[in-house]
């Protein structure tokens, strides 16, 4: 188990290096000279940047300077905001995105597991149909439309109540987080519901469920102990990639709900061509996602003994 974890970690480091390299060369190909840009600011900033990144040196040297800085955890200084390090920007805005993402994952996972189990239990009956129609909607309607619609709904609810029950946009309290997190988690929830349903259906027909029933185990216990616990495994497998989908999906939700997260900051940086912020955020996000997937892999080993034995 320990060896497996170590091996995955090593793979992760190599992957992050690949991401960093791809980012470096993609950004190097951006047309135009960042230092000729009027946004780059004063002569002092230019001189500092030149010396710091060795921009007068050949490409290979620049690449090694870049890697050396990265390995020290130094993402550089913003091109558009004097005296602001990319690290500060990440430290300030990433927690917001992370909280939103965690809340969305919690919504998606609990909702997906519950609804999926319900549809399987009530197969081809009314609850199944209603939930499956909602699932199809959740998969087909783009998140920005759902975000906009839910904002309109919030305005309506607040108008009817005469006071602000749930804020329409912004950030700060738990009330600000609820609706954006729900919207963010909706697509994943729909996907997990489908997955849970098919895995549950497979298990409902299996022999050990029949055995349990025939020896008189109460249905609620069968449901909780035998069906749910076994059916949940495939859901755990896709949680890793789901985290990736949710963190990147955060862009739109942060934009629509005016949440000061890293996603919104990244979009801003791209619009202003803030090179260091773009590169730093990309590498940071990439590394974060890679290690989240590894974490889920290792956790999966604890949950499912079959995986542990295989390794």
């Amino acid at each position: 188990m320990f060896l497996f974890g170590l091996k995955r970690l090593l793979q992760g480091v190599v992957t992050v290096w690949f991401i960093a390299t791809a980012t470096f060369f993609a950004m190097h190909n951006v047309p135009g000279d960042p230092l000729l840009n009027e946004r780059a600011g004063s002569e002092a900033i230019k001189a500092n940047l030149e010396s710091k990144y060795g921009l007068d040196q050949p490409l290979s040297t620049q690449y090694f300077i870049y890697l050396r800085n990265l390995s020290r955890g130094d993402f550089g200084i913003s091109f558009t905001q004097e005296n602001r390090e990319v690290n500060d920007i990440i430290r300030e805005h990433f927690p917001v995105s992370a909280i939103l993402g965690i809340l969305a994952i919690v919504f998606a996972a609990t909702g997906g597991v519950l609804f999926g189990a319900l549809t399987a239990l009530y197969r081809n009956r009314l609850p199944d149909y209603i939930i499956m129609i909602l699932v199809i909607l959740g998969i087909s309607v783009p998140s920005f439309v759902i975000a906009a619609m839910s904002q309109l709904m919030l305005v309506g609810i607040n108008n009817m109540a005469g006071s602000t029950i749930l804020p329409v946009a912004g950030w700060g309290t738990i009330l600000h987080m609820l609706v954006p997190a729900l919207v963010l988690g909706l697509g994943t929830m729909a996907y997990l519901t489908r997955l849970m349903r098919s895995s549950m259906l497979e298990i409902i027909g299996s022999d050990y469920i029949r055995t349990a029933r025939s020896k008189g185990v109460p249905p609620s216990r069968i449901f909780a102990k035998h069906q749910l616990r076994n059916a949940i495994l495939p859901v755990v497998t896709v949680l890793g990639p789901s985290i990736a989908a949710i963190t990147t999906g955060g862009f739109v939700v942060e934009l629509v709900f005016a949440i000061p997260g890293l996603g919104r900051y990244f979009v801003q940086a791209v619009q202003q061509l803030d090179y260091t912020v773009i590169m730093g955020t990309t590498v940071f996000y990439g590394a974060f996602l890679v290690f989240m997937v590894i974490l889920v892999d290792i956790l999966y080993g604890f949950i499912d003994p079959r995986v542990r034995l295989e390794k």
Binding site: T15, F18, I19, A22, T23, A26, M27, N29, V30, P31, G32, I136, L137, I139, S140, V141, P142, S143, F144, V145, A148, L152, R197, S198, L201, E202, A244, T248, F251, V252, L255, V256, F266, V267, V270, Q271, L273, I278, T281, T282, Y285, G286, L289, V290
Partner: protein, 454 residues
């Protein structure tokens, strides 16, 4: 016992074939088609997809309107037709003189979409005036609306509003202010019904009337029809939706076809060669999978750069192909590895089949089913990504319409003209839904193992 001779025997002849196939044999594809036809959801979504393609390809021929043409008489109009406009004289500047008599805040002449002209009397204690416009009546909370003008001169007693006038009811207020600009009590308000007007020049330049009819001032004409309304710049929504469909579906169908083709080539090479080369090739694919997808889409888009006048469709296509091929490559490789060990491949090789023949005749056709299913599921994915990127302003560059960029523009005017957001959103949703259901149906029809799982 008698001796038997050969003449005592006669061969049994079969009057009929005992073992035979009573039904014609079905090929894989015919079987799949029969299954697909039985699936009502899949067939209706197939018709939906055909309808969408017709909308995109044949639509612009039938509804031949330039999607970039601005109709400034009808800006932000909701769906519907039969809008009339009264022809009036060309606009002439106004110096505040008016023949209209009355007291308080009043209209100097009939309010039209060209101009609303207001007069008022001097209010006691006023150092100047501020003029507001609202679409709701001014209530006790004194919601005056948008400030339009401010005069620090109490002898100015007229105002002309020409700002984005729509044929509807407005509430104008004039509020006295003191020397520092602070609002005083004693405002006056008036409700104004604005009439939609146009000029002879406009009628002529837009070709709104038949050539043989002589129109005079005071006649009304039918404005250019916009069945799905217009957007915030007065562009025809239907024409823009069609043009947007071309962009969205081009990326949505073109990119999956390209990256799946690349994935097939890559995957089949890796799968067939096997061993060390396979290891290296698949490890590289793993790296590409690990790239944070959306961030790199945006990164590549910046790296390619969009010059002035370019739409940015091509960079997006390339970025999609670069980032999305590994999934297909993995899938095809897995299939090839599986098929390679099958008995019929060995038999074929025994009969002297060459490698090329094996790949082209046996392996690729047998992966085709899986690939087809992948394509149908990749299409809604690509459409989503295009819409997503265009929505955050990283996709197709304006003025090229795409459903995503139209939604992005629509969300800004969501409260006043919701159709600008709802129409493209419905089209995206319907397209994604149709391809998803079709993909489900195809998977059920083509892949025997996955059948009956749901």
């Amino acid at each position: 016992m008698t001796n038997l001779t050969s003449t005592d025997f006669e061969p049994i002849c079969h009057a009929q074939e005992i073992q035979g196939i009573s039904r014609p044999s079905l090929s894989y594809w015919r079987d799949a088609w029969i299954r697909l036809k039985a699936n009502k959801r899949a067939i209706s979504s197939l018709f939906l997809v055909i309808g969408l393609l017709l909308f995109t390809i044949v639509g612009p021929v039938i509804w031949n309107v330039d999607p970039a043409l601005q109709d400034l008489d009808q800006v932000g109009q909701p769906p519907g037709g039969g809008r009339l406009a009264v022809i009036v004289n060309e606009y002439e500047p106004w110096d505040g003189e008016s023949e209209a008599k009355g007291s308080g805040l009043r209209l100097a002449e009939n309010a039209t979409t060209m101009a609303v002209r207001l007069n008022w009397d001097n209010l006691s204690g006023a150092i100047g005036y501020r003029i507001y416009r609202n679409i709701f009546p001014v209530g006790p909370e004194r919601a005056y609306g948008i400030p339009l003008a401010e005069y620090f001169d109490n002898s100015v007693l007229y105002f002309e509003d020409r700002l984005d006038l729509k044929p509807r009811r407005y509430y104008y207020s004039v509020v006295p202010i003191d020397a520092t600009g602070v609002l005083l009590d004693g405002y006056q308000t008036i409700s104004v019904d604005v009439l939609r007007v146009t000029t002879l020049g406009e009628v002529e330049s837009q070709g709104l009337s038949a050539a043989n009819i002589n129109l005079i001032i005071g006649d009304s004409v039918n404005l250019a029809p916009h069945p799905l309304g217009t957007d915030y710049l007065g562009r025809d929504m239907l024409a823009r939706l069609m043009a947007g469909a071309r962009v969205s579906l081009f990326i949505g169908i073109g990119a999956p076809c390209l990256f799946i083709l690349f994935g097939i080539v890559y995957g089949s090479i890796a799968g067939f060669l096997g061993g060390r080369i396979d290891q290296i090739m698949m490890r590289f694919a793993d790296f590409v999978v690990a790239l944070p997808f959306l961030l790199f889409m945006i990164l590549f888009k910046i790296a390619f750069g969009i010059g002035p006048g370019e739409s940015g469709i091509f960079p997006m296509l390339v970025a999609l192909v670069i980032l999305m091929w590994p999934a297909t490559a993995r899938l095809v490789r897995g299939q090839i590895l599986q098929i390679r060990e099958q008995g019929y491949i060995g038999a074929s090789r025994l009969l002297g089949a060459k490698t090329n023949y094996l790949i082209l005749r046996h392996m690729l056709p047998n992966t085709l089913g899986v690939v087809l299913v992948t394509i149908t599921f990749a299409i809604p994915g690509a459409i989503f990504i295009e819409a997503f990127l265009s929505f955050i302003g990283m996709g197709v560059a304006p003025p090229t319409p795409s459903w995503g960029s139209m939604s992005n523009e629509g969300i800004k005017n969501m409260l006043t003209s919701p159709h600008e957001l709802i129409l493209p959103a419905i089209l995206i949703s319907v397209t994604v839904l149709a391809f998803n259901l079709l993909g489900d149906g195809l998977r059920d029809a083509l892949d025997a193992r996955l059948r009956n799982q749901e």
